[in-house]
Amino acid sequence: MSSPDRLVYMANQIGTFFRSQGHDKAVPGIADHIKKFWDPRMKRAIFAHLDAGGAGLEPNVLEALTSLKQP
């Protein structure tokens, strides 16, 4: 599995954990997790993927990444 497929997979895995907490907790939870644990090149790659449409990303994850990308 190579980037960005692997990163999409990882991001969705995080999304899956937070899903049972409901949308309002899940979106900031996912954003915070990626912010805290992902290296800059991984963030850059997933943001690039997001800019290209974010194919394959779960809705909560897509929303979280969009919020994280804004400075």
Partner: protein, 957 residues
């Protein structure tokens, strides 16, 4: 320096708080109720002669040497079996006692060889000491009678004589020297809990018998050494003592194998280790040991150990031995070159859980301050990183909550995904002791483990399907909530109530019930309900867990689920309870504490925190990068992508230990500089450009932190055979890269750690020397450390309940791969086996075997011992099958100690959602008969052999 002599009080310490005063030999002595007269006398400095008593086991009263006189009582009671009472007046020496003792010794010696001068125990023999103590001068019976001493008597074969048993590689059993005191038998029962030894026969025919009169090696003996330690004569003696002689000085140090962290005395002659003896004052092991720590240290002298630095241009070249300076400048040039070419973030390093805190701290410092990025990770990534995440989310700090002594107050022990009898044997022995006293045991494991099969232990075993931990633990919570077993007082007082309510509503849903989840977990709902009831209502409930919890796609979720369970039942914050991760390696806890993770500085503080960074920047005099770095699996991905090209690996064999070997090979092959710092040319070194020889735990000073957060000293007992301790190697590499580090001793590194880390603020070598060890947090609030955490409140404030939804792993069985493979460790071997494979421990486990259920084996035409091909989506390997019902149908199991097995060729790159901890414990596989090693194994072996060539030194001119 001299030999540390530990006082043998004869009988165990009494825990009573009621004190009793009596008179012994005219002195008033005050001791706890329940103490024996023998121990009370020793407390007062009067040693009563004894042979069958020793303070590691209960009194037995068989030798009759310890007799005393008590005023107002008839006869001469044995002081070991007679408890103290208020006002007793005891005499330990009188004419009558002298005569009795001399008579006893005379009988003993009449059936004992008189070869003291050439005996292995010469200088360390209690029988000899006692003969001296009672003034034995003559044996009136002679030596002609019936005896166990001579092979022939009166020209005839002596049927009572037995030859030496030398089957165990580490100690001998010489029955001719046995006095049948049964200390070995009792040590095996009471201390180790294996029950391998017994006394067969009666009277004169009594013999110590391993199993059913088998050899030691052929019996159930696990070679822990407790019997050898207990033996008062030369009957059970370390072969190293027989070979070398008695030690002349000893140094207290810490074992470098598992996370129990046993304290040992390294007994020495000059710089040669004579033997390692567990230290009674060691607070983790309390005088006990296992086969690894006690005996398997010979790897330090193994011929394959590399003692000179080596470099090579390309991994296809043979190694070239060079000077340290040349190796450092070669490595530094390459690493700096990579940074110039690919950017500052293109290099990184891995710290080792086998190395000391000080060494680990220096490696992360080199990376953060010297490399200028945060690409530092540690082997804890692949074992307990989910523990770090899960426990810090719920409790506020990522460490086990108890000390090991806590188990003595436990009423219900729940073990999840761990097999302490094999992987944490000394803790297992302490637990088994408690279980024999009546505590209950629940085991959640796909396999009927050695722990479940322990003698005199009744376990409620829930054999779950691999990968269903979250479903099972959530079902336990379901029962606790729906049957009204929640400790509401505790939850209201200590935890966030609204989060609890949310969680309780979640777990109470019918879909989380044991009945609803049984179809996927395979666990009998009645057993599961019973386990939940026992844990919630059985008194002090303690959870111990291992890598069977963490190494899953939902590893972090299970850790959270476990924490929820402990909070809901109020099993946190006092002795006997808690959540206890059993750490795999000696310093997993320490390497995590020392800031080895890419996102956090020492003391678990996130790198993005300005205040924390400021503190480190001021002391280190550099600017730190506020962004987290790459984790190990991310490093591999980035290497294949071409953005991560150089790595410094200290003391970890990532190629053998990380999942999906082919992926790791591709990553390592892509890198332009791989620096391996290790004792041996390990598997990773096959892809390395620089090899820096490492030093063993016997050759350096430092500290390890065990699974109970206990910081313990590692003390140098010999000069580093490679010339430099590992911390010195890192300092020199840093210097070559332009980062000055000025430390003349590891104690100075610890001082820096203490200055920068609040939980370590009170730690210093002086304090460790004074107290023996401390458990962090150790600071102003807790100057002597913290044995039990979260007393009165959680570190984070209120305990946090988090919902844990079960999500099936994407690694699924199907028509092509219908079986689930899970992995584990065996007692005699340790992890990748780099150390233990280079000791005599191979007699117990020379190869990895595949455990398979008879049904699955029959279906595939596999017989016991057959070679089988083990195939997964990721790769295939071959090994031999062992047919057993320890595993359920549909599940197969193997260990991963041998590089030729290549168990990780099979495992996949799936990982924990939160931490990327690999999912080692679940792989869908297929098994088929095979003729021998796979093509991959053959080509791997060829590459390894090719890669390990060392060029002959050039002739001097």
């Amino acid at each position: 320096m001299s030999l540390i002599e530990e006082i043998d009080y004869g009988t165990p310490r009494s825990k009573s708080e009621t004190m009793v005063t009596l008179t012994i030999d005219g002195n008033q002595v005050t001791v706890p109720e329940g103490t024996s007269i023998m121990r009370a006398a020793m407390d007062a400095g009067h040693q009563i002669p004894k042979l069958c008593a020793t303070d590691m086991v209960d009194a037995f009263g068989s030798c009759r040497l310890c007799v005393v006189e008590i005023e107002g009582r008839a006869g001469t009671p044995a002081s070991c079996t007679t408890p103290v009472m208020p006002g007793l007046v005891v005499h330990t020496q009188s004419e009558r006692l002298k005569k009795l003792r001399k008579g006893v010794m005379e009988l003993y010696i009449s059936d004992h060889p008189l070869d003291c001068l050439t005996c292995g125990a010469n200088g360390d023999c209690e029988l000899q000491d006692m003969a001296g103590a009672v003034g034995l001068r003559d044996v009136r019976y002679g030596y002609e009678g019936e005896n166990h001493v001579f092979a022939k008597s009166h020209g005839e074969i002596n049927a009572a004589w037995m030859p030496k048993d030398e089957s165990n590689p580490y100690f001998t059993y010489d029955p001719s020297k046995c006095i049948v005191c049964s200390r070995c038998v009792r040590a095996c029962e009471e201390v180790q809990g294996t029950f391998a030894l017994t006394i067969s026969g009666r009277g004169f025919d009594s013999r110590v018998s391993p199993g059913m009169s088998e050899s030691f090696l052929g019996s159930e003996c696990v070679s822990c050494g407790a019997c050898v330690q207990a033996c008062p004569t030369a009957t059970l003696t370390e072969k190293s003592v027989i070979e070398i002689g008695q030690p002349e000085h000893s140094v207290v140090t810490t074992c470098a194998y598992c996370g129990v962290g046993c304290t040992f005395k390294a007994e020495m002659r000059g710089e040669e280790v004579v033997r390692m003896v567990p230290y009674k004052d060691g607070k983790a092991n309390r005088g006990h040991s296992c086969v690894k720590g006690r005996f398997a240290w010979g790897y330090t002298n193994h011929k394959e150990r590399i003692l000179n630095p080596m470099i090579r241009e390309r991994i296809e070249d043979p190694w070239r031995e060079v000077s340290w300076d040349e190796a450092f400048s070669f490595a530094a040039d390459r690493m700096r070159g990579i940074q110039q070419k690919y950017g500052r973030d293109a290099i990184g390093g891995i710290t080792s859980s086998r190395c000391t805190n000080e060494e680990t701290y220096l490696v992360q410092k080199l990376i953060r301050a010297g490399f200028g990025n945060n690409n530092v990770d540690t082997c804890a990534r692949v074992c307990h990183s989910p523990t770090g995440y899960g426990l810090s989310q719920t409790f506020g700090t990522s460490a086990g909550t108890q000390d090991f002594d806590s188990v003595e107050d436990t009423d219900v022990a729940m073990i999840i995904g761990a097999n302490p009898a094999s992987a944490h044997p000394v803790f297992a022995s302490r637990l088994k002791k408690r279980l024999r006293q009546g505590a209950k045991l629940i085991v959640l494991d796909p396999r009927r483990t050695e722990m479940v099969e322990s003698p005199h232990v009744k376990a409620l075993h829930l054999p779950l399907m691999p990968g269903t931990n979250v479903a099972v633990v959530t079902a336990l919570a379901h029962v606790i909530v729906t049957e009204g077993l929640v400790n509401e007082t505790f939850v209201r007082e200590r935890c966030d109530w609204s989060e609890f309510e949310e969680w309780a509503a979640f777990v109470a849903q019918p879909k989380h019930s044991p009945e609803a989840t049984a179809i996927l977990t395979g666990v009998d709902p009645n057993d599961l309900r019973e386990a939940a009831r026992i844990y919630a209502t059985g008194g002090n409930g303690a959870i111990y867990y291992g890598l069977g919890v963490t190494e899953h796609s939902q590893g972090s979720t299970t850790v959270i689920a476990i924490a929820n369970l402990a909070m809901a039942t109020g099993n946190i914050g006092r002795p006997g309870v808690g959540v206890n991760p059993l750490r795999g390696q000696n310093n997993v806890q320490g390497s995590c504490d020392m800031g080895s993770f890419p996102h956090e500085l020492p003391g678990y503080r996130h790198i993005s925190g300005d205040a924390v960074r400021d503190q480190f920047e001021a002391l280190w005099n550099v600017k730190l990068n506020p962004e987290p770095g790459l984790r190990i699996p991310n490093m591999f991905d980035a290497a294949i992508e071409g953005t991560f090209m150089g790595i410094y690996v200290q003391g970890e064999d990532i190629l053998q230990s990380d999942p999906n070997t082919k992926h790791v090979v591709a990553a390592l092959s892509a890198m332009e500089c791989v620096i391996v710092h290790d004792l041996f040319l390990n598997e990773t070194a096959n892809y390395a450009h620089v090899f820096l020889p490492g030093s063993s735990f016997l050759e350096k000073d430092g500290t390890f932190t065990n699974a109970e957060r206990r910081i313990q000293r590692v003390r140098k007992v010999m000069s580093p055979k490679n010339g430099m301790a590992d911390w010195e190697v890192t300092i020199a590499l840093a210097k070559a890269m332009g980062l000055e580090m000025n430390y003349s001793h590891p104690s100075e590194i610890m001082d820096e750690i203490a200055a920068l880390t609040p939980t370590f603020a009170g730690v210093s070598y002086a304090k460790l020397d004074e107290l023996g060890s401390v458990q962090w947090p150790c600071n102003e609030k807790a100057p002597e450390g913290t044995p039990v955490m979260h007393i009165g409140g959680f570190v984070r404030g209120k305990g946090k309940f988090i919902v844990t939804e079960y999500v099936a792993t994407d690694e699924r069985t199907g028509p092509r791969f219908p079986l689930l493979l899970t992995t584990g460790r065996i007692l005699s071997q340790y992890n990748v086996g780099a150390q233990t494979r280079r000791t005599e421990n191979v007699v117990w486990h020379a190869e990895d075997r595949l455990e398979i259920h008879p049904h699955d084996a029959e279906l595939r035409g596999v017989r016991d011992g057959d070679w089988v091909r083990l195939q997964s989506r990721a790769g295939e390997t071959t090994l031999r099958a062992e047919i057993t019902d320890r595993v359920s149908p549909g599940v197969v199991y193997t260990t991963f100690h041998h590089p030729d097995t290549q168990a990780n060729v099979i495992t996949t790159e799936y990982s924990d959602w939160a931490t990327n901890c690999p999912e080692y414990k679940v792989t869908a596989v297929q098994i088929s008969p095979s003729n021998g090693p796979s093509d991959w194994q053959k080509s791997y072996d060829e590459q390894a052999r090719h890669s390990r060539r060392i060029a002959p030194a050039e002739a001097a001119e």
